[in-house]
Amino acid sequence: MARAVAIIGVGQTKHGRRDDVNYPELVYEAVKAALEDAGISPEDVEAVVHGTMPSAMEGINAAHLYLSDAVTAFGKPLMRVATCGSTGMSLAHSAFYHVASGLFDIVMAVGSEKMLENDPQGTMTTVADPFFQRPFIGGAPGVFSMQGIQYAHRYNLPEERVREAAARISVNHHDNALDNPYAHIRTKITVEDVLKSRIIAYPTRLMDVCPSSDGACAVIFVSEEKAKKFSKKPAWVKGLSYVGDEHFFGDSDKVVWESAIIAAQKAYKMAGIRSPQKELDVAEIYNPFTYQELIYYECFGFCDRGEACKLVEDGVVLRGGELPCDPSGGVLCTNPIGATGLIRVGEAALQVTGRADDRQIPGAKTALSHAMGGADQFNGIMIVGSEL
């Protein structure tokens, strides 16, 4: 029988432009918050996992070494995990396996990014291979916009309808972010605002896209024994999976997206979930681009293929619906990349333990968290629940 693993502490910084602190200070803000949330001291933490997006983002090689003191790793095992956008999710998985292996009882995962000190899209372009795809892939929007177009065309959906659904996701998430004191973009917007915002790469408009943020997140994973010792209400890891497909864009189908579908299926199987839309109470989906979120609803089995727009039109995935997505405002409103996936996990843990304050989905017991990374290539999932 595999060892049970729980989350007992979540800490995040106030995200946004953080010129008031330097990078280690920013990271420590999240670490301190997580330790306080768990009610433990730095000495209790037995091992640390840290990660960022590509190292070039802050221009620091091996950032885990630079931040070793800020993440309280002096004299402790420390590991750097970096898988692009999915880094935060990979951190959660790494911390999970640290504990599940039986080697450690208390492990802290820390993800961070200070994107506004650099050129995020310049960095992102270097994810593509240097010979064939880098010369024409201009940062993230190009890739994700192609995926959005591919989606509309696959199911012969009127582009207006897809654009409208994407815009409604954007409005919903921006409204949610108003209830999240940590969120970066906190602005009231309308569907009209989204549809009229300037085009970044057709069909993606400015308000379909996430911001670049400074921020950090820390999440503390523990064994069953420590969970019972330190926490009255831990969040239990029920299922996890992380799957990738081909590197070259064009080699894989990004609409019926195998890596996302299989990651979800494996995590559901582990968590004993057969009917995700009914059994999940809330989902924190990694959605740097609104159109991608539509694709994820289908890949994660929230609806049938080609039906994602209807899910939005019926309000199922919006606030107050049957399966509300991104009550935190999601990636669309906050995106310090190395931390972003871990924020999804942390927010999911807060939801199932009833600690999400104004953004709480009433009675949430089971939550899905997700992140995507690589060259639009990797999908990782962690499902958390209120019961062991």
Binding site: A62, H64, L65, R80, A82, S101
Partner: protein, 379 residues
């Protein structure tokens, strides 16, 4: 260890200063080699952990470009960045957890395609205080060497003997990059890089990759007759700011203690038959002897003087030639594990130490050993 895990197959490429194949080609080569050894198909792979580095590859999210070439398509996978030893440890934890019965671990760097060691390691330093003064790998190591010499009267000749030993050992290793028979004098006369470190005291800058397969006890018994069991492991980090650290007393002692405690080793010099340790600079091998508990503090020089760590000594260190001979940066930690495993399997060819039952693998990255890992393997 509660859940026993074994290394069942290892593979590496012939390392060189510039391999004429790309990252995807050499990743495929070692993966295929490992699978062939145990008669496994890609579909049967459990999980895959790779180690590489964005800066040491010039491609961000470094693993994504060779991901599908190493059989990871639709597999549960991850990356432990910067040090292949961390990839090994992560793969190990995944198998120990019981969620997977086997794990492919892989590490890669092509030094021929990236900027110099000095440029890349200057980026280790914080951007405000230490980077502008030009702190880099060799200058950091030189300060450590100077302190070591001053505190314990270690000599440049003793460090040079490590070079003579390791590059000489590399002559027996078909996978080694830099191999030569040289004299202490030649090392001492080589160009000064940062006093007291000279060109021949520094590690090679290599292209290369390495892969190995880990399996649970049950699975290992099905796959091979000669499993190498992981007996102990430990890893540890030091402070970042150079002046905050005691450069002669870092995290290695703690990492080694954890590994030894797990493996039940109390007298390393007596109980370990061979060690593969990561010595980017020759004098570091002597310092690591001390922190690994092979001798007491300040005695590292005597160990080499007395021939304890040469091929036919009591505890041969780096029969493969070590990092001085072969240094595909991120892969070097996993190569240490691979070589230590080959020694236990008795498959190390001309560099085989006779009768190995227990071996040690060590890796380090960061300025002057900011991060250390230790793994103990055995029959």
């Amino acid at each position: 260890m509660a859940n026993k895990v074994a290394i069942v197959a290892v593979a590496q490429v012939g390392h060189n200063d510039a391999l004429g194949k790309n990252l995807r080609e050499i990743s495929y080569e070692v993966t295929k080699n490992v699978l062939n050894q145990v008669g496994m198909k890609q579909e049967e792979l459990g999980t895959i952990i790779t180690s590489s580095s964005d800066f040491w590859q010039g491609i961000s999210c470094s693993r994504s470009v060779y991901f599908d070439a190493m059989g990871a398509y639709l597999k549960d996978s991850s990356k432990a960045a910067e040090d292949g030893a961390l990839g090994f440890l992560y793969g190990l934890m995944r198998v120990m957890s019981g969620h997977f019965d086997n794990a492919l671990v892989h590490a890669i760097t092509k030094s021929s395609e990236i900027p110099s060691l000095s440029t890349l390691t200057n980026l280790y330093a914080d951007p405000f205080f230490q980077r502008p003064i030009g702190l880099d790998d060799v200058s950091a190591a030189a300060m450590q060497a100077r302190l070591y010499m001053d505190r314990y009267k270690i000599t440049e000749e003793q460090a040079a003997r490590v070079v003579v030993k390791n590059l000489g050992n590399a002559l027996n290793n078909p996978y080694a990059h830099k191999k030569m028979k040289i004299s202490v004098d030649e090392v001492l006369r080589s160009e000064v890089m940062a006093h007291p470190i000279k060109a021949l005291d520094c590690a090679a800058y290599s292209d290369g990759t390495c892969a190995l397969l880990l399996a649970s006890e049950e699975k290992a018994k099905k796959l091979t007759d000669s499993p190498v069991w992981v007996k102990g492991m430990g890893w540890c980090t030091d402070h970042h700011f150079f002046g905050d650290r005691d450069l002669l007393n870092g995290g290695l002692r703690k990492a080694a203690k954890k590994a030894y405690d797990m493996a039940g080793i109390t007298k390393p010099l007596e109980e370990i038959d061979v060690a593969e340790i990561c010595e980017p600079y020759s004098f570091q091998e002597l310092l690591w002897y001390e922190q690994l508990g092979f001798c007491s503090d300040g005695e590292g020089g005597k160990l080499i003087d007395n021939g304890i760590t040469v091929m036919d000594g009591k505890l041969p260190v780096n029969p493969s030639g070590g990092v001085l001979a072969t240094n595909p940066y991120v892969a070097r930690g996993l190569i240490r594990v691979t070589e230590a495993a080959l020694q236990v399997m008795g498959k190390a060819g001309e560099r085989q130490v006779p009768g190995v039952k227990t071996s040690l693998a060590h890796s380090t990255h960061g300025f002057a050993g900011q991060h250390h890992s230790v793994v103990i393997l055995g029959k």
